[in-house]
Subunit: 403 residues, 4 copies
């Protein structure tokens, strides 16, 4: 495909083009619906400010609808030679609808176009993630309702510490998810600014109506400063990922707990067979791989976060192509988080406490602090009571060994 900026027969070296678009076209493929959305708003605005006639707008809208419908049938596919989705869109419109295709880019740049598409995409993903958090909270609440009263030991330093319960333990994840929800909300709120109209990062000398496109696209407000539009790219992406990391830390904790609590030695929980996998060599194995792969996810997004922050710093203001390489880190992380939320949900539905065994785990040393506090209620000071109980425990340990 001839590039939008190509002025003569000189062509970009094939290897260079391959390097510059590698992987990126696959990502753009997923963003097309959002680029169409942005283009529709931009076209409507161009008509409003009289750059397009009503008739031209109709043709463009028809063309964009056509692309949308081809896309849904899996027939609008980016392939090597296409520079990006933006170019492909303009090219398609020009080839099929003539002159109007050459007008749609008036007053915009691919720089603000990709920002708009990414932002619409991110907000849409965050909304789904928030929905999935709510759903997971609901499942946790049912779990607590069903099994909450069962006792289990509480651990510190991985050592049995004090009496706890499934209810207390599950509740801790609910509380964490509620904070995670707030974080997701906050970041959605911050990025909810329309960059459309910032063009290459310095605006354009024609009078675009940025409020109009922002409203059409459902943004909360216009991101007024065009330089900030560009400078906020890696920054906003990093902000999103830090909210996802919060969420995946919660899931990591839940998975870590389940993996310990389902070892033979702990045996607090039993997973149903349709979520465990076997070994190719050891006939007896039933493994909770699902929890291991949930546990690993926060690390993937942490790495993606490092990529974004690291690649977008030490750079001057304005668009730098380095930022293209943050696209995958962003999109992959959102995808990972959605999957993880869904699978955590399934995990909870397929794992049950071993009530009988859990009873046996509530051993007397768990009540040592309670005993010390009882002495306090009878008048001892805490530190002496603590020493007294501590020495008794040592005594009985010793006795036991002597027997």
């Amino acid at each position: 495909m001839k590039k939008l900026w190509q002025k003569n027969k000189n062509r970009l070296m094939v290897e260079v083009e391959a390097f510059e678009t590698k992987g990126d076209l696959l990502l753009d493929q997923k963003l097309i619906p959002f680029d169409i959305q942005g283009s529709i708003a931009h076209a409507k605005m161009l008509k409003k400010i009289h750059v397009l006639t009503a008739q031209e707008l109709q043709i463009l809208l028809k063309g964009l609808e056509k692309i949308n419908s081809l896309y849904k049938q899996n027939k609008f596919l980016l392939s090597f030679g296409d520079e990006d989705m933006h170019s492909k869109l303009e090219d398609f419109l020009t080839k099929n609808y003539g002159e109007v295709g050459k007008k749609i880019h008036t007053g915009r740049s691919r720089n603000d176009q990709v920002l708009t598409a990414l932002r619409l995409y991110s907000i849409s993903e965050l909304k789904e993630i928030k929905f999935l958090i709510k759903k997971l909270i609901k499942t946790l609440k049912s779990y607590k309702k069903e099994f909450g009263s069962i006792s289990m030991p509480g651990y510190t330093h991985m050592q049995k510490a004090m009496p706890s319960s499934i209810g207390l333990w599950i509740e801790n994840f609910i509380a964490a998810l509620e904070d995670d929800f707030k974080n997701a909300n906050n970041v959605q709120d911050i990025i909810n600014q329309s960059p459309l109209g910032s063009a290459a990062g310095y605006g354009v000398p024609i009078n675009l109506n940025k409020e109009f496109t922002a409203r059409l696209l459902g943004f909360k407000k216009v991101q007024e400063n065009p330089i900030y539009c560009q400078n906020s790219r890696g920054k906003f992406d990093a902000n999103i990922l830090s909210a996802l990391i919060q969420l995946l830390l919660t899931i990591n904790k839940l998975a870590s707990d389940f993996l310990l609590f389902t070892t033979t030695e702990f045996s607090f929980f039993q997973a149903s067979e349709d979520i465990t996998t076997g070994s190719s060599i050891m006939p007896q194995k039933k493994n909770l791989d699902i929890a291991e792969l949930l546990r690993s996810k926060v690390h993937l997004v942490l790495g993606n976060y490092v990529q974004i922050v690291s690649l977008s710093s030490n750079l001057i203001s304005g668009y730098n192509r380095d930022l293209q390489d943050s696209k995958k880190s962003l999109m992959e992380s959102l995808e990972i988080t959605k999957d993880s939320l869904k699978i955590t949900q399934l995990l909870l539905l397929s794992i049950k406490p071993n009530k009988e065994h859990l009873k046996e785990t509530i051993t007397k040393e768990l009540f040592a602090a309670e005993k010390a506090l009882n002495l306090v209620l009878k008048g001892d000071n805490f530190r002496d009571a603590y020493q007294k109980i501590g020495k008794n425990l040592k005594g009985s340990e010793k006795n036991e060994k002597e027997k």
Copy 2:
């Protein structure tokens, strides 16, 4: 110092103790005022629930005030052999005020004590950071007022792109800082929960009044679930750091711009001598080290963030001592951020645009997009207008070379 938990003459191996407290005592030293604050609230609550008498409370308050005053005179110093500030506090109270010292730990653990101190500290730091952001925004606004109308080129891909101005450029940092402020606010809001009363992470079997201590300490609410209190430690710390990273990304951009714009080749700005340093070997050098050291800071906090997320994952619920190692990452990052905000402020006060030179930088190719858009206003479609201008430019370039 004898440890709180020590029951006999066995002692922790000296090398082990050194390893376990290395660096940590220095951090605790800074947290003491917050541990005192938490202890005062806890003592008042113990009186309210009748574990302490009014008289005992008076003695404890006197003791804690004494510590506070010694601390301010730099006379309450942790040193090797002290396990941590919590132990030192109880030890001091017991040694100097007897029996009541042994009562203050009733119903609490060092686990919730350190959480409380860290949280009070973090909130206090975030408040100062928010104040410094506001101050920096004010300085940027003055800068814009003074120099905003001066033109400068806008860059994309590090290449001159379109006309811009100091005003547009400065405004982009203001907008960024306003979002950074929101992030700082959000994280302050999320961590604003009192963990006091969660004890070792599983509550205690006596009826503490957690609402009362929360209120005394100025927390927005009680963090009800005691397991979540512990599990939120690394998580909240990471959340704070991600807000700081947002802020330091803004400063990194500003520093990167200034460093490029003060090269001889660009010469957009001139720094005053009292913020530049020289070379030990090249007599002519004037370096803007200050901007280089501002630029590097986001990377330090990024690394600290990786430390916290990485060390607090793949661990089971409840207190794990690994988390002690996040204390430095947290405290150092808050410190770095405060310093950076203050120094950015100073930098702005000592650097001025080279008006004359900036005028010359506004060259005609910056107006190529404007020219294309002018053709559009005269009826051309954008893509053809773009081609026309593009070819003219190539022509004139060619001509210039031929001359």
Copy 3:
């Protein structure tokens, strides 16, 4: 496909299977040739130790050759429902060659199978990378030969510092690449150990001949301890990536330099048009995107490194499925590095110094240190000479301003 470990009609939940194999099948697709290689060696060894007859071996080799040939025709494709390449291989052999297919897994586990495939793959990639380093060094040497004598300023703190030359500058990359080569070599040497025969991580109670398979596969030695085979997975992967990061830091520096040195303001170099790209809105732009996308790559691999180290720590000994998620981080990083080396090569072939302009950049203040040293040769001590030159410079600066 029925799983190797499936004993009855219970099936893994579809969503769980999707989550567990997502992305992974695409990676396995690239590893198939190495899994075949490992399987051939394993089969030959089984014959040698009389688990297989000569005839059975012939059938298996025929089968594995068949798979290889299908693979090359793009007809041996993993798809959803396949657990992994290992299962697919055994399944294909059993379906098409009967009984012998059921024998190939004797004495091995998918745990050592994947380790073997990944290690063969990594070594093969490292060899190619070493070849590409050598090639790039050669190109740099030609560049130095052609343009080395041209002067250019040397910078410290981004400020003009002392006289330098293209030769000195290019030579610095050659020296860096020579060290990078050593690192690549070192890591190749360390991972050059055959894990085949370690089975699930604890060996097997039959007498495998691990030296024989190691020799067949070209490994330098057997990795004797089976637990270490597993424990070294993330560790070796991280080791590889750290060598790649060294290399990409060199490329990052080269790209950063070129990006600054091709700004209009510096104009030290001129890139040919077939490696620059344009803007969709600004007709005049010629951007060196290629260097920006080279610059970003070290950050991607840094993030991948964080993923591997972070996900493989805080885990107990033995295989943990979390490690599956390091496969992409590893393979993608090797791919990125190869591409970057090739493209850096191209970049050098398409970018030339602006000799005329570079002459003008050698201004007199660059010689201030030289002047001071000349005074030293005439008997001054260095610090006083430095002061003298420094003051003269200030004077002449002042004079210039006064004119």
Copy 4:
């Protein structure tokens, strides 16, 4: 202190100076002996090339020895106002020995001076680390000798998998440490290049004898290219840290295993009391904090690695002050690694297997793979044998439940 580069009464703003030297002076304090070493070599070389007379050299050597001796008595202390150790050194020499002090900086810059000191320091640290690795390997070998024959289960997916032993398990750490040693060796070998004489990064126009100083300082060779001397700073530091991460991953695995294996539920090992700590609230607790704090260390160095790679990329060639901020990441990481090696040593000396309990953990399902392989030896193919054993296990499980 007046700065080396200060030419008039203008002073660096106090806040700027505080920001620029914060923390750095403490680090420099540790590097002084290496800076003295470098200075001695430089002075000797200046005499050799006739910049200094024999007598002047004697005075300088006396002065440097004086500093060394003051340093050892803790009387040569950097404090606020000192720019760095290099300036302090020159200042001291000039003040106390007059004219010759002003000559020592002839032909060098603080840029190559700090590189030299850091490199000497790093090599010295790496040597000690290699010594500590050897020592730890020796301890592991004794441990294996004493307890190696005791059986323990081997785990995959955290589930009991196959029979293993303390010997096999310990041996895995020995093998890992041997590879870690090679890595440390490799990096020591790569950084073993003398940067002294590269001056500010572009050499000097007088004929220094770099081979002479390199030999005096014990370097393997001269780092010839002066630009590479500077450009290798962050790069070499990162290289060192990646070798440390390899080592700390080994320790992390050992600590993770011990933490699981000392839970009450596993009870494979028993730690002696002088390495366990108690709880301030729960009288019964004995915690293996030491292993938790060993486990956390790889994460700290990982974060430090991110700091160095991230801050030293996207920068142009030559010295950039950003690099100062890598000093702490480097020095702290070396310190952490040494401590961790020593403490791991102690841990092993204080923790013993519970022989009796370990016997009971060797349950029959661990032999399922062995049974299947026995059927293979009797003529079954592996996959059918696997199925047979697998179904028997399911049967017996069912029977057990029915009882």
